[in-house]
């Protein structure tokens, strides 16, 4: 991609000032996290999928570094670097470049260098209030930049609801965590549902029958020795990081799964019905409650929280009439854990929202925090915003 024209630079700078003005006025501290990040910490936090799109390099000392693919993890790290203060609630805002490899080639809607302007709130005690504020401030910032509020399309998702649904359904704990982990990949999720509804044999992975028998007879504290004896008998040499105890632990899981009845087809259908939901946001909780009730599941409390959030949005003056809820939404954003949203503007491709964000309670720990720190944040894709204001990209 060629260097940006002077006019584009000037417009982006002016736009950034308006956006940052909204953020700082709302009480968010302006920060400039490092552009160059240690690859190890960063990529462990964001996962291999984003790694494929991250520019990684080795410096003259042999350290593995990367150009940040977004500003959320760098802001988490900046917060943690404040040491004891990291325990206190904090609110940050930023505007700066991020870098992503575009496998299909870079273009105006998918540049390899782009500027993100965003906010992050860490440790806020009232989660629903923090989420509502985050969304309201993003809408304010887009409006201050020149977009018409009435033209914005809000789309909501809630990974917390999906987890609540999975927690309410009766199944072995290992299946539940597997489905939760696979939620990010629709095709893998569907394949897993299909696998779990099959009988034990079709679910695959059986340990040798003699080993299963020996493990079943042994007391829990003797099971490691059973595995060791089996490996010795089969002349299987051990090496590397994974220990006998870890094999035993997973073998127990496999034996529990083998004994478990298949996942009822109705349960799989329930999951599929949830992810297929696509409704105006005010109809979402009714629809979800109905789907859950048909399977005898009570989601009253998680749905109360969902509705409370919508009320808080309305109280902050957000227009929810055109806002939609999608059961599927949030699946491509791996580190989100709860409420998620995207804001689309006219003139941009459907899959290129101008802003998005949500709750990511696990990310602080992945970024090195010894304790969980609740976090919610959002960012604006500033080049897309400018394009939308200029009348869209062709």
């Amino acid at each position: 991609m060629s260097a940006e024209p002077v006019r584009q630079f000037a417009n982006l700078e002016a736009q950034a000032q308006r956006i940052m003005g909204v953020f700082t006025h709302a009480g968010y501290e302006a920060v400039a996290p490092a552009i160059i990040q240690p690859a190890e910490v960063f990529l462990d936090a964001v996962g291999e999928a984003l790694r494929a799109r991250t520019y990684v390099f080795t410096d003259q000392n042999g350290a593995e570094l990367c150009l940040r693919p977004d500003l959320t993890v760098p802001t988490c790290r900046l917060h943690l670097a404040r040491g004891s203060q990291a325990q206190l609630p904090a609110r940050y805002c930023y505007n700066g470049p991020a870098f992503r490899f575009q496998a299909a080639g870079a273009d105006l809607a998918h540049p390899r260098e782009f500027r993100q302007a965003g906010i992050e709130a860490f440790g806020a005690p009232d989660a629903v209030q923090a989420e509502a504020e985050t969304l309201a401030i993003m809408v304010d910032a887009l409006s201050a930049a020149g977009l018409d509020r009435k033209q914005l399309h809000l789309k909501f998702g809630d990974l917390y609801l999906m987890r609540a649904l999975l927690n309410a359904v009766d199944m072995p704990a290992s299946w539940r965590s597997r489905l939760k982990a696979k939620f990010w990949r629709p095709s893998a999720f569907r394949a897993e549902l299909k696998r779990l509804t099959g009988d034990a044999a079709s679910r695959g992975s059986m340990l040798p029958p003699a080993l299963i028998e020996a493990l079943a007879k042994a007391a829990p504290e003797d099971q490691d020795a059973v595995i060791s004896a089996h490996l010795e008998g089969a002349r299987l040499e051990t090496f590397g990081a994974r220990s006998i105890a870890e094999i035993t632990e997973h073998a127990r899981v496999l034996m529990d799964e083998a004994r478990a009845a298949p996942l009822p087809a109705a349960t799989a259908a329930l999951m599929e019905a949830y992810v297929a939901i696509e409704v105006p946001c005010r109809e979402a909780s009714g629809k979800i409650a109905a789907i859950a009730a048909s399977a005898g599941i009570d989601l009253a409390r998680p749905l109360e929280r969902f509705d409370a959030r919508l009320e808080r949005f309305a109280a902050l003056g957000l227009d929810l009439n055109a806002a939609t809820f999608s059961g599927d939404f949030g699946r491509s954003l791996e580190y989100y854990t709860g409420f998620v949203f995207a804001i689309a503007a006219p003139g941009l491709p459907q899959l290129s929202p101008v802003a998005g964000g949500g709750r990511y309670n696990g990310l602080m720990r992945l970024s090195g925090s010894p304790v969980d720190i609740p976090a919610v944040g959002a960012a604006i894709h500033t080049e897309r915003l400018l394009a939308a204001i200029d009348g869209g990209v062709s």
Partner: protein, 232 residues
């Protein structure tokens, strides 16, 4: 632009010998031009074609960029180096040599891990125990990412390995590998086992056409002539 059709052939070893043999079987007698160690050549039957001797992995890159019109190289290298291979090249013929499977393999003593689903199941507990993701040593970064992503496995890290990949689990620099194997002997020697559903690609040498090369009437006619000899 000379307007010549450039045909890339592997420049050394077994691959070059097999390519020469198979081309001859299809009526294309390869001859090096200039001195014996030169990097250019021609076919006796179609002297208008310019043959370039290039390393097999470089052939994939040149087919992608369009620096050569036709080439013989492994499907594994094409799929690894050209993510959207179907849009950039055409496979004319599988040539029946250079067979190799790209596979995911784990330490044989991981008796509880037989499938990709098992690998997925242990990835979370592994991270909690060792405070890091499973490490996968490979030179096939793109094939690995695509295959693992298709199967919903996300909690892992790739360690790029440019040689002796099969030794990395024993050396402790990786936990499992993705590599090519033909007989499986090297994997066995390193106490590794292919996952039941861990064959990612069954590769062999292919005759491949670049869509990015500059094509004219004359080069198209020559390509059709080559095609006819293989698809005849």
């Amino acid at each position: 632009m000379t307007g010549k059709l450039v045909f890339a052939v592997p420049s050394k070893g077994r691959l070059m010998e097999d390519t020469t043999k198979v081309l001859a079987q299809h009526g294309l007698t390869l001859r090096k031009t200039g001195h014996a160690r030169g990097y250019r050549g021609s076919f006796d039957e179609l002297p208008e074609i310019e043959v370039a001797f290039v390393s097999a992995s470089e052939i994939a890159a040149q087919l992608k960029s369009g620096a050569v019109h036709l080439g013989v190289t492994g499907e594994d290298l094409i799929r690894e180096q050209i993510p959207d291979a179907e849009a950039r090249v055409n496979f004319i013929a599988a040539l029946g040599f250079g067979h190799a499977d790209v596979v995911a393999a784990v330490p044989d003593f991981w008796i509880d891990v037989r499938t990709m689903a098992d690998l997925d199941a242990i990835s979370g507990p592994f991270r909690r125990t060792h405070r890091r993701s499973l490490r996968v040593a490979t030179k096939y970064l793109n094939l690995t990412r695509r295959f693992f992503a298709d199967r919903g496995l996300t909690d892992y890290r790739i360690v790029e390995s440019l040689g002796a990949t099969e030794g990395t689990p024993a050396a402790g620099t990786a936990d499992l590998i993705v590599d090519i194997t033909s007989s499986g002997e090297t994997l066995r020697a390193n106490a590794l086992r292919i996952l039941d559903d861990g064959v990612m690609l069954r590769s062999q040498a292919n005759l491949v056409v670049s869509q990015a090369a500059s094509w004219g009437a004359a080069t198209r006619a020559l390509e059709a002539e080559v095609r006819r000899r293989f698809q005849g």
